[in-house]
């Protein structure tokens, strides 16, 4: 299997619809909680250690072969906001569509048939990574990185932030992404023996609450 498959999957231009979502950054900008590079960095750091860790562990667990339906239910329980559950399923469906064209396999077809409305994106990401011959850590890296790169890119548009500054934020967070991936991969290994309850459930109250506020707006730049 190709190592470069990781680059294909992690590429922001992979046509899986992620660019339409801000990861909660749009609502944080409106509320005045993200005003520049420093607050963007704190936002991304908080998201990485909560929703990012949870997503990375779900993705890694899917690579290790945990039951997709159980992981999807675990993702539901870890996502109290219906707006975020909806966004995660939509993103999961879009990712699956792009992945089936890229790495056709009966396993991906089976997930599409079982979840016509889409499964949670991190779970799909794990199944896709496995199909592409990637490891649990690779999948965790994709999930953890995406959880910070999404808001960073969105804030460039929302605040006209200098793209160099946004990229510098991602550079400074890189060592923390490594640590989150280590924790996620470790938890996923434990879950193989102990079941999905061993996966982290780290949550960010403001991301969940903000997503519900955002979903009620008549006009918004991003879908979530």
């Amino acid at each position: 299997m190709s190592r470069a498959a990781l680059l294909v999957l992690a590429d922001g231009r992979f046509p899986a619809g992620g660019h339409a979502h801000s990861g909660g950054a749009e609502v944080a900008v409106r509320a005045g909680r993200i005003t520049g590079a420093a607050s963007l960095e704190e936002f991304c750091r908080g998201r990485l250690h909560t929703a990012g860790l949870t997503a990375a562990a779900l993705a890694a667990a899917a690579v290790l072969g945990l039951e997709v339906r159980e992981l999807d239910a675990a993702a539901d329980a870890r996502t109290p906001s219906p707006a975020l559950r909806g966004a995660a399923r939509k993103l999961g469906r879009q990712l699956l569509r792009a992945a089936r064209a890229t790495w056709p396999s009966p396993e991906l077809d089976a997930v599409a048939a079982e979840f016509p409305k889409g499964a949670h994106q991190p779970v799909v990401l794990g199944v896709v990574a496995r199909t592409a011959g990637l490891s649990a850590r690779d999948a965790a890296y994709c999930a953890a990185y995406e959880c910070v790169s999404g808001p960073a890119t969105a804030v460039v548009r929302l605040l006209s932030l200098d793209p160099f500054e946004a990229t510098a934020v991602l550079g400074r967070l890189a060592p923390e992404v490594d640590r989150v991936v280590d924790r996620a991969a470790e938890a996923a290994r434990e879950a193989v023996d102990e079941g999905v309850d061993a996966l982290p459930a780290a949550s960010a109250p403001l991301l969940e609450i903000g997503a519900e506020w955002h979903a009620g707006w008549a006009v918004r730049l991003f879908a979530s």
């Binding site: 909660g24 704190e42 750091r45 909560t50 329980a77």
Partner: protein, 256 residues
């Protein structure tokens, strides 16, 4: 109580609520231990009431507290506490633990409404709350955490709240804050300077036929239907008093 040891105090309290067959609820098991004393208080109608009385302040570092309550088929139990639970720094090394296990059988109803948990500067507490509600069971559970006493920096507080209905997970949430918690906990994605965080979870079989619509109940308060017959109110506030006001209003909105 196993006693005070070099590793802290261990105490477990147990409650079993049983329908007595005459329309009321009896408490065949009501066992407090050490700092977790239990008092039966005046109930109303079919409901039995229990108050957890903190006979000692705590938990301190190294302590391990546990409470288990079982509500049997058709029984109704309401549990509150006489005062806030205060996590304090201790002589013993390591974190303190507080584990709550709640089981509600079919046709049973549990109102679990303790006072706030206050994380004092220098304390280190890990709280787990695990609830299993059988199909046809009912639950109202409130959890409030206050980070630091007035004007004080918080201690380290980690918590995990897991709720299952008919064996399926409907809510699984972990929160970690204070010194030593993973970065960004007080930042714009997580708490953004709020010092009180609360959750109110309501499980009712009727939510299957009449789902609740998600709505905002305040700037930092959202009412959300979960993936199952349950609703969560998630709230952030500047302090414990404001948090309680918001959660009381939310419970009123859900019809008590």
């Amino acid at each position: 109580m196993d006693g005070v040891t070099g590793t802290g105090v261990r105490a477990t309290a147990r409650i079993v609520a049983r329908a007595d067959g005459r329309g009321a609820t009896s408490l065949p098991v009501l066992e407090g231990e050490g700092p977790l004393a239990l008092r039966r208080t005046r109930g109303s109608g079919a409901e039995a009431r229990v108050t957890v009385v903190g006979a000692m302040s705590g938990p301190l570092g190294g302590d391990r507290f546990a409470i288990a309550a079982t509500v049997e088929r058709g029984a109704r139990l309401r549990v509150g506490s006489a005062a806030a639970t205060i996590a304090l720094p201790g002589q013993a090394k390591g974190e303190a633990r507080y584990d709550v296990r709640l089981d509600v059988a079919e046709g049973g109803e549990l109102h679990w409404l303790p006072e706030q948990l206050i994380s004092v500067k220098g304390s280190d507490l890990y709280v787990t709350t695990r609830v299993d509600v059988a199909a046809g069971g009912r639950l109202v559970l409130r959890e409030e955490q206050v980070l630091g006493r007035a004007g004080e920096a918080p201690g380290r507080l980690s918590s995990r709240l897991t709720v299952r209905v008919a064996g399926a997970p409907v809510l699984d949430q972990e929160l970690s804050c204070g010194p030593g918690a993973p970065g960004g906990w007080d930042g714009p994605a997580v708490l953004a300077g709020h010092r009180a965080v609360g959750q109110l979870i309501v499980v009712r079989p009727e939510f299957v036929a009449e789902p609740v619509v998600a709505r905002m109940l305040g700037e930092c308060v959202a009412l959300t239907p979960l993936a199952g017959p349950a609703v969560l109110v998630s709230a952030l506030a500047a302090d414990g008093l404001r948090l309680r006001r918001v959660l009381d209003a939310a419970l009123g909105e859900l019809g008590g």
